[in-house]
Chain length 701, copies 2
Amino acid sequence: MERLSRTPRLDNPDSDALRREILDYFNTTFDRYEQLFEVLTSDEAYFVKPIALRHPLIFYYGHTATFFINKLLLAGLIEERINPRFESIFAVGVDEMSWDDLNDDHYDWPAPAEVKTYRKQVRQTLDRIIRTAPLTSPIHWDHPWWTILMGIEHERIHLETSSVLIRQHDLKYVQSHPAWPVCRDSGPAPANQLIDIPAGSVTLGKARDDAHYGWDNEYGLRQIELKALQAAQMLVSNQEFRAFVDAGGYRDARWWSEEGWDWRNFAAAEHPSFWVRTNDDWQLRLMCEQVCMPWDWPVEVNYHEAEAFCRWKAEQTGLPIRLPSEDEWYRLYDLSNVAEPSPGHSVNANLHLDHFASPCPVYRFAQGDFYDLSGNVWQWTQTPIYPFEGFAVHPCYDDFTTPTFDERHNLIKGGSWISCGNESLRTARYAFRRHFFQHAGFRYVAGAPPTAIPDSRYESDELASQYAEFHYGDEHFGVANFPQTLARLAISACGSEHNGKALDLGCATGRASFELARHFTAVDGVDFSARLIDLGVQLQQQGRLRYTLQEEGELISYHERDLASLGLADVANRVQFSQGDACNLKPLLTGYDLILAANLIDRLYSPRRFLSQVHTRLNPGGVLIIASPYTWLEEHTPKEEWLGGIKRDGENVTTLDGLHEALDAHFELIRGPEEVPFVIRETRRKFQHTLSEVTCWRLKD
Amino acid sequence: MERLSRTPRLDNPDSDALRREILDYFNTTFDRYEQLFEVLTSDEAYFVKPIALRHPLIFYYGHTATFFINKLLLAGLIEERINPRFESIFAVGVDEMSWDDLNDDHYDWPAPAEVKTYRKQVRQTLDRIIRTAPLTSPIHWDHPWWTILMGIEHERIHLETSSVLIRQHDLKYVQSHPAWPVCRDSGPAPANQLIDIPAGSVTLGKARDDAHYGWDNEYGLRQIELKALQAAQMLVSNQEFRAFVDAGGYRDARWWSEEGWDWRNFAAAEHPSFWVRTNDDWQLRLMCEQVCMPWDWPVEVNYHEAEAFCRWKAEQTGLPIRLPSEDEWYRLYDLSNVAEPSPGHSVNANLHLDHFASPCPVYRFAQGDFYDLSGNVWQWTQTPIYPFEGFAVHPCYDDFTTPTFDERHNLIKGGSWISCGNESLRTARYAFRRHFFQHAGFRYVAGAPPTAIPDSRYESDELASQYAEFHYGDEHFGVANFPQTLARLAISACGSEHNGKALDLGCATGRASFELARHFTAVDGVDFSARLIDLGVQLQQQGRLRYTLQEEGELISYHERDLASLGLADVANRVQFSQGDACNLKPLLTGYDLILAANLIDRLYSPRRFLSQVHTRLNPGGVLIIASPYTWLEEHTPKEEWLGGIKRDGENVTTLDGLHEALDAHFELIRGPEEVPFVIRETRRKFQHTLSEVTCWRLKD
């Protein structure tokens, strides 16, 4: 096949040359996408859905063009829409997640010829922009032209995903096409074997100044040490997988995860999806035709099928057979010195449409000791996609990756015969739902379970994420971080000689606990809400915390905070978080030099019960710090339990009066009352701005 | 009778003499109160309630002593309670309003002898304090000793109100007592007559530097011109009132207000409360005995009965007979040169216990052309109590008056035979619920309806009072007044040549409307909420606005704002407030040079409908200003109506984008977006701090 243009280096100092290269990259991509739809046999083929939960192909035909327009509008490279109606119809609906948008009643699809005309208009617009818009090299993440590359790489992704949909279409809607020649080699598969891989380290993540375009999730850094393991030399072939099918693997829940078994039952799957049983024989559905089963080609399955095979294989062999982690895939890739596609050369892999418009035998492309570490079909990993350290969303495409940080989308690596552009690079990182089909199979490894990966989720619970920002996020209106301020005040009140144990009661997401750990040798962070404590625990265990914040209406932003940049990495392990009720504390929680009760007392069901015993938990000379805006609400505290803010016997009783009543027997007030402000961000423009009254009490001897 | 000490001048520069006078004032008051309870015949008399909705007399016996302790504690004159249990029992429950506290189960009354002992302890304490506490003259409102006078005057009030309760007690519980000699003069009453009063002015209100103690509601200033009227020479006597009773006045709803008729039916009243029918004759219940009806004594009735009599009398005479206003009472008082009680002389009035422990004939004490403008019995006015300009609550007794600013407590004037101390002064101002009985009757006048009095109410609705403070109150965190800032910005955007009509849409309590009136010749203030507009209207009509704010828990503070001190008195009449729906405005609202929509669009059910027609309401070159934090909530605006803060066709649409979409056809953006902050106070320590995005749009030609 004619070599398809490679994703360009964006740091070419010759901006005219760079402009020409991008123009070529755009046009060849646009052409190739047009060619894909030429395999369809009729207009009807555009309108009948290949699978129920996704749009018909007409959507995908228009979508990649509309995407250019939307992103260039955002970047200010164009001013006006070309066809607002089409650009509404073709804008969203790529992913199965949007199944509620897929009701056909909502759509009045235009004819393919109309879309072809629209695509032509878009091409002319892009052609003009690329030829004429000002361009300074290099093109980086914030550069307006980044969106042009984004559009091209986006179309290359859809070149692949649409080829999968076409492969799922009824045969009558597709035809062979000279631009899409399949591999004709097939035969029995050689036996697979495990190859020893020594322990070693890998580095993942794309540098911010990398010369090639990248998607948001690729950037950042992860370095990790891996133990020795064994890895299969080849991808699992149809033949190797057949043993599992023949052994009744699809009918035995033992091999499947719960989620996988649910899928199997829902889909009534009996064998790989593209396998077709014909009179006791097997055929394989390719993109445009059905062929006798090429047993030595890689089997194409979803994650659940791959995982079930591994469990079965492990029992068969007595070896710890499993899917690799993303880290492990990189280890194999790096050890084998796999080359990325480059201009002017065919790549040594069934990749980038350099060789076939189909898979090929699993022993065709040797890369080091292995075959097909890159290319042929994607390889499932057991790793749900997660952000690397330093992850940030691109402002022009904030939902490219973030919706997949849900522990339900697993990474696939290596690319397939049709993966091109960014997809063909080492740093490429794509993830799909575990039950999805792509041109994807798997390679197994044998070894101990891999290192756990960081939690990928963004905390999105409104209260929890507001608290996370309150404790670890930006300051607003010049108001200093509240838990940090209180912790400093507490440390100063205790003095250097009292630095034993501290209790942060009502610790919420834990900032004050960590700050106290700078001074105290041990800090207990206790809160009633497990939900909030979890964020502190997450920060402690993983060093970072991610959450979303509401910006305006339903628009959100993504935030990451880490202990290291707060200067807390070294002391965080002095903190012990636990759930507890301040009105009924465990006897264990005692012997403190400090008890901090920040924004706590007006949320307790019985603040008096707490205050009546708190002296028993302090060491001699210990300090109790109470901070509260005294926002008494009956939903938290029955009125008869309010410490103050009441009329008693006709006279005003303030909460400060109530604190004196409750504490004077055992404590002397050594500092305060003073007002310490805090700000909680609700949206980009809406904040709670509150004054907390702080009093410091020392236990009398 | 022995003359009871007068309320002392508090500006005596000889502080030793002042101290001695206060000691005497305290002791004689305490003694006289003790004497009152000597008319009770048994301990049982202390425990049986004279009327169902008020405490038994034991409460009142202890209450005045406890009151001293509570107030002196507040003032820091004493440090500790004398008897915490008693001081809880005797603290509150004076007013019928507290009927829910009157369940006897809540109380375990001590024996009268115990209370007598307690009173002795209190007296010793007060005696010591008055003898020894530091004293600098003069004693003013903020002086710690003010609370001593407060306690004494408080006891003098209860001397009177307890005498009413005793009068309502069963006869078997009371006995005559030499310290309480009644008047024995009675006979037929002379015919009443109307006396002409020329038009003239009166001045009400006590100066802040007045030499005598005063209650909070007495201070301030009111000057008013009164029209000519006629006033009855004498109080209405039992005889004059009898004609109404005999005419079936208590059975004819025509004469009664709705509220009065409800009371009559509830009470099944057939005649004045203290009248007793015996064998076709009438007797009158006095404090300690029942006597043949003294027909020439003043009738004692509540407000409803007095009002009904006047309506009946008006029909009888064809004259505009009615109750006087408070202003009118002062006009008569001033014209008649009534003298206040002074030391060393008996007052020329049945007042201050100088003459009788009962009423006396209505023609006994002539004062100018009238009788009994002061003394004998209180005189109901048609004026509900309201605060004068400059009113402020006293911090040591913030619920003395404020609970009566509810349009349900009418002023009584002139004092009765037992009114002494502060009660006997011209400036005295007491108000009771209209159905209450005191030693009170009435004088009628004939004339056109009096000038309406200012609204006395404090806005206490949480939202409305927060808005009042937001618009007219204090600034917080250094954030400038928001509606004022917007109005200035609007005036600057319009320029001096555009100063015709302005529309303040979503005007709430109206501050921006008033501020715009500094520049525009006419301003329409329109809001959906009649509740909020009402506050603007109140400010416009009365020049002032009063509201309460939450401080901490149930504790509140009282606030008054006026147009004059905001510099808005001269322009306020340019504003016209009306209720309206921004999504469906009346056609009349058009021809504006400015439309200001502040914090409006994200509270509309269809902001697009508003924006689609707003250009039709502006003059050529007119300016539209939109300010909003874009806090879209489905409770206000269905999501499909949100202007922005949404994902549309996969892309982020901000509200600013949505504004451009809605407005660009008719407007050009001439200023902004810029963020203008505002702060809304929720409690003393809790605030909403928000950024409103402001954009200014000029109508295209």
